[in-house]
Amino acid sequence: MSEKIDRATFDHLVELAALELEEDQAEYLRRELNKQLEAIAELSAIPILPDTDVSLHGVDYPQTISPPPREDVWIASDNADDILSQAPQTEGRFLVVPDIPHTRLDSENEEQEDA
């Protein structure tokens, strides 16, 4: 079986997905990904006219059944405390996270010191 997703591609996907994996997981997931790609290879064999529309939804949404956009008005939430109480770490009304890494746009690998 030819493997479309080799280890380097896989590791790149893992990075994009904001995951880190144990080795046994990585092995299982890469094997299943390649199997799934074989399952979808069938798509390339279907005769499709180039001007065939794409469907983002099955059901059409003509104006008559689409709710109009809501007015852009601020509605106060009555349960802000409940929402904040779900956060793993807070200080007062702020969510706390560790340092946010900074990356120079012109040089991806070079970390920039916090200004």
Binding site: L13, A17, A18, G58, Y61, I65, N79, A87, D99, I100
Partner: protein
Amino acid sequence: MNLHQQSAHVLTQLLRKKEVSAVQITQAALARIHAVDGTPGQLDYGELTEEDRHKVHAFISVTAERALAQARAVDEQLAHGEDPGLLAGIPFTVKDIFAVKGTLTTAASRILANFTAPYSATAVERLEGAGGIMLGKVNLDEFTFGSSNESSAFQPSPRNPWLLERVPGGSSGGSTASVASGEAPLSLGTDTAGSIRQPAAFCGVVGMKPTYGRVSRYGLIAFGSSLDCPGPIARDTRDAAMMLQAMAGADRRDSTAALVDVPDYLAALERGVKGLRIGISPDYMRITFPSADGGYQQQPLPAEIAQAVEQAAEVLRSLGAEIIEDVPMPNTRYGIPAFFVISRVEAASNLHRFDGVKYGHRTSDPMMDLREQYKRTRNEGFGLQPKLRILMGMYVSAAQYSEQYYRRALQVRTLIRRDFEQAFDPNGPYRLDALLTPTTPTTAFKIGDVYGDSVLMQYADQLTVPANHAGVPGISLPAGLDADGAPIGIQLLGPDFSEATLLRIGRSYEMATADEAWRKVLTEIDR
């Protein structure tokens, strides 16, 4: 009289005649749960005990106090001569993918294991607003990603009440198991590729995927946003109609909840099938499976499932429906490959919000920076199936592949939609009111037989997923038992917003087959 065996319809009548109170109905349901459910799903559960193998395990959390408080409120309303609503005093369970204010809302995932929802989903709010009594949250495949419930982070996972060594199907397996075992007459599920209809077929209950946009998705933790449909699960079509009635309709909080009037489903139910045109397609009477050599092979349906469809067609014909054979649905077989692409792209996008910052699990390891914290948190919090979907979604939507995969899959979706449009076109050659098909390619499989093979598992949805691509409604109805005693399901598919017709056909079939021997057979949990 065993209250837990009664339908929602009968219970509302008993309640309104004051022969029983909402508190009594709720207590009976809670007692039934206590008797048959066993240990609720939980994280890091060890080996199953022998007793575990003889219980249903539909629930993650039973909210008994909340339910009894609701029941008391319904009784008070009735005592004051007020009408609590269509579902007054009727217990229901909710797939734990819906936010319900003040309840644990886990998505059967470690990453949300500690999440208490600060608001309620519209569908739940409407069911409760109609007097329904929520009993608790039931198990599912993690984030709905599966067809067996085995992928839940909360174990023991639900078992099939008919044959306890088999899966209940999925992902709404906790829902269908809770209804089939008599724990509740109704359950709220979701269907993205067949996740209501497939487990309904496996558990011998009625499950409906309404038209996309018929029921609001607000408060539903999203999998595939263009495919997800909340819908009713019940023991008969009348109860399913009642439940759909209570929750269907537009919602200012979901812009895809369509502005289409909700008809009176119950009034339409008894109108029979005379004159309706019901189609059968050869493309639904064969199935595709991955073969040992890495390819795919088409096979005929298992004979008992094919016979159930043919017999149902005969029953409907005898009731006055016109059966139209050989309706072409040539793109049915591409439903799964297209779903592998579309659903993964949408899932990967939807799952990015789970990062340990605002809610849910966060790694307890001290982290140097936020990026590392995201990765560690997500690795600890997500099981294998969410990870697999995220990675696949990343791959097929990457700039260099999206033309080949994502765009093409969306074009295939158009072809699948056209199959349905042609079949249902009132001026076309077929002019169908509904298409009659099997629901699943097999009956319920044994626990452990398929889980782990993500491709084979996905093919369990091959006969249900085309309706999700097309957005059209579908219903699965119990239609017999196979030689092992496993339930067989048949499916009706119809044009957009034709739920009333599908329920009506289902009701006719149900009434005409009410005396068949298989309907009297008890589930294993009751034997």
